[in-house]
C-alpha cells in the first residue's frame, strides 16, 4: 500500500501548500534568473547591438555541366537566428535545391526540388571555454562542412571529393556538442569541439551514431590556422576517420589558402585550394578588386573498395574558378574542373550567381 494512501483533510492541505510553495519558489527563481540575465545583458554589452530575430542565408542559381549532362540548380538556404538574451541562440538552416535536367537528354528541363534541414540547434553560450549545442548540428569534421558549404561562401560550387569522410551519413549529428576556446592570447587561440550523435531515422533529423572531436590552433597575427579532426563511426562497421587541415590568409596579400587531408577505412585523399582577389592589379582597380581567381587540386585514393561517398577508383580533379563580386553580398560565379580517372575523364562546368541576405524579423532600435 502506498505510504500516503490514507487521505485526510490535513494531509491534502499540506500537499497543496507544498505544491503552491514549490510553484511560487520555482516562478520566483525563474524570474530572478531572467531579471539577472536582462541586467547582465544591459551592463555587459556597452554597445547598441540589438538581438532581434534574423532571417539570413543565401540563394543562387547555378548552371552545371558534368560529363556532358547539364543541370539547372536554383538553391535557397534560409538561416533562422533567434536570440534568447545574449547567451542562448536558436538557429536553423534549411536547404531547398532544385535539380532540373533535360528530358531524354535534349528535351525540356524537368526535375524536382529537394528540401532538407541542414541543422536545427540550440546554443548556450555559457562562457569562453564552453558553448553547449543541442539538437541537429553540422558534424564538426574538417574545415569544409561547417564553414565553406554555404553557397555564398564557397569558391567552387562543387564539394571536394573527400567531403563524405567524417560526414556520413547525413553531414549532421543529432545529440550534443561542446565547443569553445581552450586558451587564448594575442598570439594564438586554441579551439575545440567535441560531440556525440545518436542514430536517428526521423524525417529531416536523420543522423548516424558517431562521436568525435575537432581541435585547431589559430594564429591571428599571421592569420594561420592548423587543425585536426577525429571521428568514430559507431554503427555497422565501426571505423575511424581523421582529417588534418590548414587555413591561411596572409595579412598583406588578398589570398586565401585552404587545404585538408582526409583518411578513413574507405579511402584517403586531399584537396588544396587558393583564392586570390585581384585588388593589386594597378590598372582598372575598381574592376579587378572585385574579381577573385581560384584554383583547386584534389585527389582520392580508395581503400577497401572505396564507396560510401568516395570514388571506387583513383580520381584526380584539378580546377579553376573565376568569381566576380558585384557587391559584397552578390557575386557571379564560374568554375571549370577536369576529373581524371581510369574509368572516364570528364569536364565539370559551373556558372551562375549567389546572393547573401540578412533581414531582421522584428522591429528594433537602429
Amino acid at each position: 500500500m502506498p505510504p500516503f494512501s490514507t487521505t485526510t483533510y490535513g494531509t491534502n492541505t499540506g500537499r497543496q501548500v507544498g505544491r503552491v510553495m514549490k510553484i511560487i519558489l520555482l516562478a520566483a527563481s525563474l524570474l530572478f534568473c531572467t531579471a539577472q540575465l536582462s541586467a547582465q545583458d544591459a551592463e555587459s554589452e556597452p554597445s547598441h547591438a540589438g538581438h532581434v530575430p534574423v532571417l539570413s542565408g543565401g540563394l543562387g542559381y547555378v548552371y552545371n555541366v558534368n560529363g556532358g549532362t547539364s543541370t539547372l540548380s536554383p538553391i535557397i538556404d534560409p538561416v533562422l537566428l533567434l536570440a534568447l538574451g545574449s547567451h542562448v541562440l536558436v538557429e536553423s538552416r534549411a536547404d531547398f535545391v532544385g535539380v532540373f535536367q533535360r528530358r531524354n537528354g535534349n528535351g525540356d528541363y524537368t526535375g524536382q526540388v529537394f528540401s532538407y534541414v541542414d541543422y536545427a540547434q540550440i546554443d548556450w553560450l555559457a562562457n569562453t571555454h564552453a558553448m553547449v549545442v543541442a539538437g541537429k548540428y553540422i558534424t564538426p569534421f574538417g574545415i569544409y562542412a561547417e564553414r565553406l558549404v554555404p553557397i555564398w561562401i564557397s569558391t567552387f560550387q562543387s564539394n571536394p571529393l573527400t567531403y563524405s569522410v567524417g560526414t556520413r551519413t547525413s553531414g549532421a549529428g543529432v545529440g550534443g556538442q561542446l565547443r569553445g576556446v581552450v586558451a587564448q592570447t594575442n598570439k594564438y587561440s586554441v579551439q575545440y569541439s567535441a560531440y556525440f550523435s545518436a542514430f536517428s531515422s526521423v524525417y529531416q533529423l536523420d543522423a548516424a551514431r558517431t562521436t568525435g572531436f575537432d581541435a585547431s590552433v589559430y594564429f591571428p597575427v599571421h592569420r594561420f590556422e592548423v587543425g585536426t579532426s577525429y571521428q568514430r563511426f559507431l554503427q555497422q562497421r565501426h571505423i575511424n576517420s581523421e582529417a588534418a587541415y590548414v587555413s591561411w590568409q596572409p595579412p598583406h596579400i588578398p589570398l586565401d589558402v585552404k587545404a585538408e587531408y582526409d583518411h578513413s577505412y574507405y579511402g584517403h585523399g586531399y584537396w588544396i585550394q587558393a583564392a586570390y582577389t585581384l585588388s593589386q592589379v594597378p590598372v582598372a582597380n575598381s574592376f579587378f578588386k572585385r574579381m577573385e581567381l581560384g584554383g583547386r587540386m584534389e585527389q582520392v585514393f580508395p581503400l577497401n573498395g572505396g564507396g560510401n561517398g568516395l570514388p571506387r577508383i583513383d580520381t584526380q580533379r584539378p580546377g579553376v574558378a573565376l568569381n566576380y563580386y558585384i557587391r559584397d553580398d552578390l557575386r557571379l560565379v564560374s568554375s571549370y574542373q577536369r576529373q581524371f580517372s581510369s574509368a572516364k575523364d570528364v569536364n565539370i562546368w559551373n556558372i551562375g550567381f549567389t546572393y547573401r541576405w540578412q533581414w531582421p524579423l522584428w522591429p528594433g532600435r537602429e
Binding site: 505510504p3 500516503f4 485526510t8 490535513g10 494531509t11 499540506g14 507544498g18 510553495m21 514549490k22 519558489l25 520566483a28 527563481s29 534568473c33 539577472q36 540575465l37 547582465q40 551592463e43 555587459s44 554589452e45 556597452p46 554597445s47 547598441h48 547591438a49 540589438g50 538581438h51 532581434v52 534574423v54 538561416v79 537566428l81 536570440a83 545574449s86 541562440l89 538557429e91 546554443d123 553560450l125 562562457n127 569562453t128 558553448m131 549545442v133 561547417e146 564553414r147 554555404p150 561562401i153 565547443r179 576556446v181 587564448q184 579551439q191 575545440y192 569541439s193 589559430y218 591571428p220 592569420r223 590568409q249 586565401d256 557587391r327 559584397d328 553580398d329 540578412q358 532600435r365 537602429e366
Partner: protein, 103 residues
C-alpha cells in the same frame, strides 16, 4: 505539516530551489562583475578597443568569407552570437566585436 513525509518533501523542495537560486545567481553575479571590469577597462581607451574590435573582425570573418560591408545594429547582437558559435570566438572577442560593429 501533519505528515513527516510532507515535511521532509517540503524541506527538500526548499533546499533544491534555494540551491537552484544560489548557483545560477552566483554564476551570473560572477560573470556580471567580470563584464563590468571588462567594460571599465574597455572604455579607458576607446581608440584601442575600436582597433581591437576591427582587428578581430578582419581576422576572424575572413577565415571563411569576405567580411560584410555593413550589418544593421539591431541584428548585430544576433549575428555576432551566431558567428561566435560557428567560429568558436571567446566572449571577450564577442564583446569587442559588438562594440566595434554597434558602438
Amino acid at each position: 505539516m501533519e505528515n513527516p513525509g510532507t515535511l521532509s518533501r517540503f524541506v527538500i523542495s526548499i533546499a533544491l530551489v534555494a540551491a537552484g537560486l544560489w548557483f545560477p545567481g552566483r554564476q551570473l553575479f560572477a560573470r556580471e562583475n567580470t563584464d563590468k571590469q571588462n567594460a571599465t577597462s574597455a572604455t579607458s581607451s576607446t581608440e584601442r578597443v575600436k582597433r581591437t574590435g576591427e582587428q578581430i573582425f578582419m581576422e576572424n570573418c575572413s577565415r571563411c568569407h569576405r567580411p560584410p560591408m555593413a550589418i544593421s545594429p539591431r541584428i548585430t547582437g544576433t549575428i555576432v552570437m551566431h558567428m561566435r558559435v560557428r567560429a568558436k570566438l571567446s566572449r571577450e572577442d564577442e564583446q569587442a566585436l559588438l562594440r566595434y560593429l554597434a558602438p
